[in-house]
Amino acid sequence: MTNPLTILDETYRVAWGDLCYLRGNVVEVLLTGLVGPILYLLAFGYGLGGSMEGGSSEYLAFIIPGIISLATLSGTFSTVAMKILVQRLFYMSFDELLLCPVHITSVILGKTLSGVIRAVVCCTVIMGLGCILSPSVEFSLGAMGVVVLASLTFSLFGLLAGMVTNKTQKLSLFTSIVIVPMTFLCGTLFNVSALPAFAAYVVYLLPLTHVSQLVRGFMLDTGIPLDSVAILLAYTALFFGLCYWMIKTHRC
């Protein structure tokens, strides 16, 4: 059994290069992470919400946790997946990393760390903004915990996608058929109970649905669905396991 402190130390060593890039391009990285969620907030929160009966305040309180959940996906997946794809296929530096005397677990965690940091920073900004814009929304450490877990899950998903795909076009296809539907259907912008029964069942199986439910539960104090915690953890374990298998069996 490897010492967890060794894994933590190696994770930092692996992540150092990506963190260097993050540090050197902090404005660009944060802007690209925040523009999308802020547009959602304006378009849906005020645009759509404002046209609802009774005004936008209730809907705004509903979608702020949804947009935070969305930011855990948008802030991680494409960043990590594209970075890995480029490092594998164009820079060849991913091969170089696999040659270093570090554990596979450290490689996986290290390559997801910059995505997690980016998403957590973006989500914190949106959460702060949400608390200012809607009195019903509360800053919650529990919600931050969910944000960290969800960012890790979707970063692992991005790592997996970056290792599986061999063309940028394939990654775009992956985004179109998996990420975009999740963005709109997983209870971020509307309540999934409004969907037809079969669609609601499919949506229930997707991880972003559970991130939305948990963040909403913590921020609006509507109760914590434990099944969502279990499902999110199961997805994290699944993506981690698949990444581990890919690297261990030299499939990337």
Binding site: R13, V14, W16, G17, C20, Y21, Q87, Y91, M92, S93, D95, E96, L97, L98, L99, C100, P101, V102, H103, T249, H250
Partner: protein, 288 residues
Amino acid sequence: MCDGVPDDIVEVRDLVVRFGDFTAVDGISFDVRRGEIFGFLGPNGAGKTTTIRTVTTIQKPTSGSVTIDGHDTEDDYIAARSCIGIAQQHISLDKDLTVRQNLRHHAMLHKIPRSEMTERIESTASILELGDYMDRRIENLSGGWKRKASIICSIIHEPSVLFLDEPTAGLDTRSRHMLWDLVRMLNRRGTTIFLTTHYIEEAESLCDRVAIINRGRLVAMGTVDELRAMVGNVTVDVTDHEGRVTKHHFPDREAARGYTEGLDFFFNVRRTTLEDVFLELTGEGGLA
């Protein structure tokens, strides 16, 4: 440096690598001796890069085994990797980072103590006089400087064995000679060098022993003199009336002289080169 003391620092046994129906490496076995410059020669597509990728743990073998300094690359991959440095055929540095950042990152990944890191980076960089280029991003360097930066990164942790996959491909003559000098210098400092190349003169000039691979199989291995003796130490180039040149190999000048007596064509008698050996062993109808 690694602690192991076996004479052979790399041991490859019955290595097979298949991609679907295609066999890239077909049951090769060889050893690399500690302290030597070992050349791995073959035509394009012969299996050189697949072999080096498998030996250095990037590629999983279909079957067979590899040990580096006594460490099995499957079972004990972390220890094996700590003995390896590799400069791949393609520049495999992070092009978003500077030379210094790439060096630091390699040093960190190879767990060089923080207290030694800055000095190690500066002293390693000074080997190739990288000073003026240290704070430039890799993407802004010329091909030759990228290659030099790549080699410097691969030796920052003082590996026992350095794998160079076609290190001079695409470089101009001056850069090529500079890299040859670097390889010799690293070898003098005690680093075993495993060099793949398809430049014959590179192997002839640098290597203590050479292995020749063709279509995934090892067709010959030995010193340049031993390989020369395999096909014949003396070569006669015969030019016929239509200008076609054919090569004939003989064990010695005596035998060559016997052949050329009464020959009605232009001919040139000379010492067999590694290129002659290579063409004979990898060409159609050769000894392979």
